[in-house]
Amino acid sequence: MIFAVVAVAILGIGNRWGSRVFLVASVGPLAALVWAVSAASRVGNGDLPTESWTWVSSLGLIIDFRADWFSILMALLISVVGIGVFLYAVSYFENSRDVARIASALVMFAGAMFGLVISDNLLLLFVFWELTSLLSYVLIGSNEEKPGARVAALHALLVTGSGGLAMLAGFILIGESADTYSLSAIVHNPPSGMVVNVAVLLVALGAFTKSAQVPFHGWLPRAMEAPTPVSAYLHSATMVKAGVFLVARFAEPFSDTTPFGPVVVVVGCASMILGGWRALRQHDLKLLLAFGTISQLGLMMVLFGSGKEKLAIAGCVLLIAHAAYKSSLFLVVGIIDHQTHTRDIRRLGMLGRKWPVVAGVAVAAAASMAGVPPFLGFLSKELAFYGFLDWSEPSGLIVLCVVAVASAFTVAYSARFVWGAFFSVRSGRAVLDPPVSTPSPNAWFALSPLVLASLGLVLGVLPLLLESLVSGSVKSLGFEVPTIHLALWGGFNAALALSALVLVAGAWMFVGRRAIERIQARFEGVPSSVGVYDATVRGVLALSGRVTAITQSGSLRVYVAVLVLTMVALPSIPLAMNGWPGSWPSLVDSPIQAVIGIIMITAAAAAAVFHRRFASVIALSVVGYGMAALFVVQGAPDLALTQVLVETLGTVAFVLVIRHLPEKFVVAKSRGNAAAIAVSVAVAVFVFWFALSARTVSETAGPEAVVATQVESTESERGPAVEERTVSEEYLERSKPEAHGSNVVNVILVDFRGLDTLGEITVLFVAAIGIVGLIRFGARRSKDRTEVDQEVVDS
């Protein structure tokens, strides 16, 4: 709620305050922080704060918020990183235009993310989920003059949006089979079955797209077109974690009974390797971090998706550690970009000497990423290895190997990042040689990354601070765990040895980076996710063009013919299945009916054949008067009266219009005329058959043919069998006592079905306005209406 207020306020303040609006914006995450801390104290006392309003109860859509430890953990990440990013953005956007829009979108995004992690209703969660997708579209594309930014924004929106739709389908399947949309209830008592298996896979699909997992990862590197604070917030710390959040929520209840766990683990492994591998060859610092993020998110997927409590502990620690180091690294890149106007490590270097503080921050954050003690990243890696070693099945060993290799990649690209940006001497000349003015960032600019990076150090040294939060989170995910003791130093054991091995291997890969680059060059031709996406988009556009070219010939006649044939073809199927009605009805009701009918058919045919417009119109009016005559025979005096009058007026209207037009129709070209005749004959045969069948239904009707039933009984005959009355019988009976009229047709029109009539006269009203507009609008009037009015008054 506060987020919305702040966002509106920022839009109101607009650009007048410049980048300082971000100070206002940070009120949002600050409020979230306060809420999270207070909620934490309440949860610590054992009660779960919940809030609930009913929105659309028939859909099971209830605004249902619920805070447990895991939500609080996520909320803390969102708010702490959010405050850091907002304070940083004050400097970053110092000279930019349109700051207010970015700021307000960022605040709304924080709000949506916050809502996502604390909502306890699957549908509500989906709403927030898509809200974050939409806002990320706005934020990535915030530099709307850059075509790359627009493409990237669209890419992100399409991928995450369609993933979100898959997820919605999964949610609905789960919700329907569990008979509730409450997340906590589902997690507590998970449904199972084939439908649920499909459903969880759909949910996993949503999570993969959001967390940029293989093969949907292509949008994340592209999204680096966004301003750096946006990347730092959305694409490292928060939005991409939504997928991880969802996997974490679903892992424990569904990992045993459904293929959810294995799928997540496999995809996570693939993302880890691919992300790490691609990160090694990036020259753009941001892209390097982006692929690193894909890799790290893959690791989180594996940790949470496995459904093992020890790995979940490691996952929670990694969530915190990653948020801290990745956001500070992004912010450092932002500083470099802002000051030197490049992010290419081939042109950077030697910055370490000029900016020792920034370099220190980067080293600390990268060390945490690489898993160097005593940072928090090391602790999370250690916990992960510890957990994997505990995994008794052979598959656990494979996963462990994959994680170890990916971690070595991580070490290597972390080193590459720091070296390339701050210490590389050889390439550093590119920056220094042409004496580009590279002003030092001011203290305020560096404050946020400094704080975020030092969080990694402080928490790494004193993991005690996290103990209750992490153990509470793991418990609220559904795992049964005793109290956890987090300690940086776990003694000499296999996990420590693995960590050391990974560090050594990573260092070796960094040293041998030239060789690796050569190997990577051989894989240039492999289709990338971006390429697949682009090809898909192109394909869809081409396909739609071709379909349009085929279906839209541009000729009204073709459209009408298709419509009419459809009208004939579809009802023919059930008609044919029922077979021939059996008996022919009596030929005519009375001799006069035969005469009228023959006249009508003749006149209708004449209307079609005549070439003179006037003759056609007259023939049509003969048909109309024939209709009136038939109505009289049928016993419908009201209809007959109306028909006569309408026909007269219609003829007048026709005559008034066609007096302007040429006397004869343009003689139709023979092309297509045969087709028109064929279609007409088909229609005529079908309607004839249909009418005869309708007759059999109505005249042999049981109670199910309600409206079209012949009314044969009257009041006197009507016995106690009230429930079999048709609508018509009821109207006949109720007309006099309740509506005080004996003309049943009129009573139906103005009373029983009065709303229909109201609609009808509204149609008349609208049609009249439309006609007047069509004829009068734009035409100069030869005589002004007011003059005529004057005459009328005079006379």
């Binding site: 541009g554 006649r557 035969a594 037009l661 343009v666 229609v683 047709v745 049609a767």
Partner: protein, 124 residues
């Protein structure tokens, strides 16, 4: 519903469709009128064969009373189809004023799109 009425309905539909498939707007409007006549007649007569009009007090227990519900529907339909016919007439009139004829033109957007696709596919 008698066989003859069914035949009349069928002919009204058939001729109506034929006229709608013509190029002249006036003919299309005439065709629409014929179609709506056919539909009205079908609706009315599917309610049963001819009988005594449904006025309370005007029929006795032995009379065959006509179903009033289709009649009410058709009454509404007559007026609405008149409104539609008049509207189409106005359209035809305006089309004539603007283009000098009352023919239905091809949709230029669609034709252009089809040509565009065709030329693109034509290129290797």
């Amino acid at each position: 519903m008698t066989t003859l009425v069914a035949l009349v309905v069928a002919m009204l539909y058939g001729i109506g469709v034929y006229m709608i498939l013509q190029r002249s707007l006036i003919r299309i409007v005439l065709g629409l009128s014929l179609l709506s006549h056919g539909a009205n007649l079908l609706l009315l007569t599917s309610g049963g064969s001819a009988g005594v009009a449904a006025f309370i007090g005007r029929f006795t227990g032995d009379d065959k009373v006509v179903d009033p519900v289709p009649q009410a529907f058709v009454l509404t339909a007559i007026v609405i189809s008149f409104a539609m016919t008049a509207f189409c007439l106005a359209l035809a009139y305006r089309s004539w004023r603007l283009t000098g004829n009352d023919d239905v033109a091809q949709d230029e957007e669609d034709v252009r799109l089809a040509e565009m696709i065709a030329t693109r596919n034509g290129k290797p």
